[in-house]
């Protein structure tokens, strides 16, 4: 990635942590950054949002794990990963050596899991902050997803905020599969979230016309990609409208700088690029450059000026 110099100040912040670019990876869509190195300058992007990590190593679900859908895809990976030890030993030092910021996504099945992960990440070099992936089934509530219940969601966020390094902002990652996303947003902000990541995937299903059974091993999966962009933008719009001072990391189907611009105008102060990376491994640098050019064309001197502009 070569960042074309524009006159636009592209710097932004994740909570209290300044970052040079508003363009980040999306959790689970760039692993731990390593594989993007041939295509993207990892130190120049806002941050590498790492694949959600849990306490123990996880194999993830059996295959098939994905199905292509019109302008999108369905996945059911099952959070395959090395566990927090693997992350601390291998991936985070690798990123830190390169000057890349890690925004570490944490996941668990009970409130204490999240808190323990946050505690383990205190003071770790290169960790710019935490993204709390609450789109996980809560084993203590018949598997209901934390993010679908304002109370369960805020329990997690409160525990993470209490356990985490005060210098690390924490962003709660919201699910769009709720009747009222604003009420969940409000609850987690009240519980101490410094920002909101939105959106996670939509719950979807594809049936294989040959086997006549669900395509994915996990039956349902998460829908991502440009197909869901209007839903993601609506969520960002609604939440920024209700909570204009809460930083939003916007995502869902961003593929171009103009897509990113829509999220910024709707209220996001940074964006994550997920599925588009599968299509274009150079997407992050390209989107940064396209967004900078788009802002310049529209007369913005800085990214910050454009955040939420569509509401004005």
């Amino acid at each position: 990635m070569t960042l074309v110099e524009t006159a636009v100040d592209m710097s932004t912040a994740l909570g209290s942590v300044p970052v040079p670019s508003p363009v980040l990876t999306a959790s689970g869509c760039s692993a731990f950054g390593r594989e993007l190195e041939p295509f993207t300058d990892l130190a120049a992007i806002g941050a590498v949002v790492t694949k959600s990590v849990q306490l123990r190593p996880r194999s993830g679900r059996p295959t098939p794990r994905m199905a292509e859908t019109p302008s999108g895809m369905l996945n059911s990976i099952g959070l395959q990963g090395p566990g927090i030890d693997g992350l601390l030993d291998g991936e985070l030092p690798w990123l830190a050596e390169r000057g890349a910021r890690a925004f570490v996504s944490i996941a668990g099945v009970r409130v204490e899991d999240f808190a323990e992960l946050a505690a383990r990440l205190r003071g770790v070099p290169g960790v710019a902050g935490l993204e709390v992936n609450i789109s996980c089934p809560n084993v203590e509530s018949r598997g209901e997803v934390f993010a679908c219940d304002p109370v369960a969601a805020s329990d997690v966020v409160a525990a993470v905020r209490a356990a985490a390094d005060p210098a690390q902002p924490i962003y709660a990652k919201l699910s769009p599969d709720v009747t009222d996303i604003v009420s969940v947003a409000r609850a987690v902000v009240d519980a101490g979230a410094d920002g909101l990541s939105m959106i996670n995937t939509l719950l979807g299903l594809v049936i294989d016309p040959d086997t006549m059974k669900p395509m994915l091993g996990g039956i349902t999966g998460g829908l991502s990609g440009p197909a869901i962009r209007p839903v993601a933008l609506r969520c960002v719009w609604q939440v920024h409208q209700a909570l204009p001072h809460v930083p939003i990391l916007g995502m869902g189907g961003i593929r171009t700088g103009l897509d990113a611009l829509q999220f910024v105008l709707a209220g996001a102060s940074a964006v994550s690029v997920g599925t588009a990376v599968f299509n274009d491994p150079s997407a992050l640098g390209r989107i940064h450059a396209e967004l900078a050019a788009a802002l310049e064309t529209r007369g913005f001197a800085s990214l910050r000026e454009a955040v939420g502009y569509a509401h004005r």
């Binding site: 689970g28 869509c29 760039s30 692993a31 390593r34 594989e35 993007l36 190195e37 041939p38 295509f39 694949k51 849990q54 123990r56 190593p57 996880r58 194999s59 993830g60 679900r61 059996p62 295959t63 098939p64 794990r65 994905m66 292509e68 019109p70 302008s71 999108g72 895809m73 996945n75 990976i77 099952g78 395959q80 990963g81 566990g83 091993g217 990609g225 440009p226 599925t275 588009a276 990376v277 599968f278 299509n279 274009d280 491994p281 150079s282």
Partner: protein, 294 residues
């Protein structure tokens, strides 16, 4: 080499991949397939046999987001040659490219076939379009002074691939078809079983069931085998974790390994073919998924 295994995991490639918009300079129907030639110098210069490329498909207005992985058949003079079978919408779109069209391609991807033991006679086994992936390897092995025997098999004559290219390069070529419409009637194993005893290494590319049969036959005779697997891929570069299958690592532990970056070439005795698509308790991290020792 782990105790009891004939192969070591294939090492990573010499060069990282690049992403380029390249011109199609040749498009030729070959029986059931289309051979595409791409002016992709940087990819050609970096590619090693066994690696693949990943194409964006459908053009600018495309609703198909995911790349399509296609094995590199040969490289030379800055040109990358691939052989494509029209399976679904994406590969069909690829087969419709014409000279002058441009395509967005990432490569070379994945781990190449490891070098054979010194002086070993190599057996190359290709099923369907899988044979195309062995042409570059055949050339490289011959150039390095190895004797090369090749087997190409397919369901029927029109689904055979690269037989002419392999015939030009290899010392012997056997052909089998399920329906007997070309070569001997039967599966590739018919020819493999005969050739294997004289060989010191096996390389195979083709459908999973064929890979399993070839790997099992080789392992049974104590011959190391390397198979290039084909798993459904979303990214091709190692970031999505969709393309995994259970493979025994150098520490003897089974992990769900990404076929795009830890493969597509794996030791034939390391792929747990019977467990593909399932999750067994002895896979690293299966316990965290609730799958525990019975």
């Amino acid at each position: 080499m782990t105790a009891g295994y004939l192969t070591t995991p294939a090492p990573v490639a010499d060069s990282p991949p690049v992403q380029r918009t390249v011109e199609v300079v040749g498009a030729r129907p070959v029986d059931a397939y289309v051979e595409l030639r791409l002016a992709a110098r940087e990819i050609a210069e970096r590619a090693q046999p066994g690696q693949f490329v990943a194409f964006a498909v459908g053009g600018e207005t495309s609703g198909l987001l995911l790349r399509r992985s296609i094995a590199i058949s040969t490289v030379g003079d800055g040109v990358v040659t691939v052989v494509v079978s029209a399976a679904g919408p994406g590969s069909t779109w690829l087969t419709q490219r014409r000279p002058g069209d441009v395509v967005d391609v990432v490569g070379p991807l994945g781990r190449p076939f490891p070098a054979p033991p010194a002086g070993a006679r190599a057996l190359l086994v290709g099923g369907g379009y899988g044979a195309a992936a062995l042409v570059g390897l055949a050339g490289q092995l011959k150039a390095a002074g190895h004797e090369v025997a090749a087997v190409a098999g397919a369901a029927s004559a029109d689904r055979l691939c690269s037989v002419q290219e392999l015939t030009e390069l290899a010392d012997t070529v056997a052909v089998t078809t399920d329906d007997g419409s070309s070569g001997r009637r039967g599966l590739v194993t018919l020819a493999v079983d005969e050739l294997l005893p004289d060989c010191g290494v096996v390389y195979a590319c083709g459908p999973m069931r064929m890979l399993q049969a070839v790997a099992d036959a080789a392992t049974a005779l104590g011959v190391p085998s390397y198979v290039a697997v084909e798993e459904s891929m979303a990214c091709g570069i190692g970031v999505c974790m969709t393309c995994v299958l259970p493979v025994v690592g150098s520490d003897g532990l089974t992990r769900l390994s990404r076929s795009c970056t830890e493969g597509p070439v794996f030791g034939g005795d390391r792929v747990r073919f019977d467990d593909v698509g399932t999750l067994t308790w002895d896979v690293v991290g299966a316990d965290a998924m609730g799958v525990t020792r019975p």
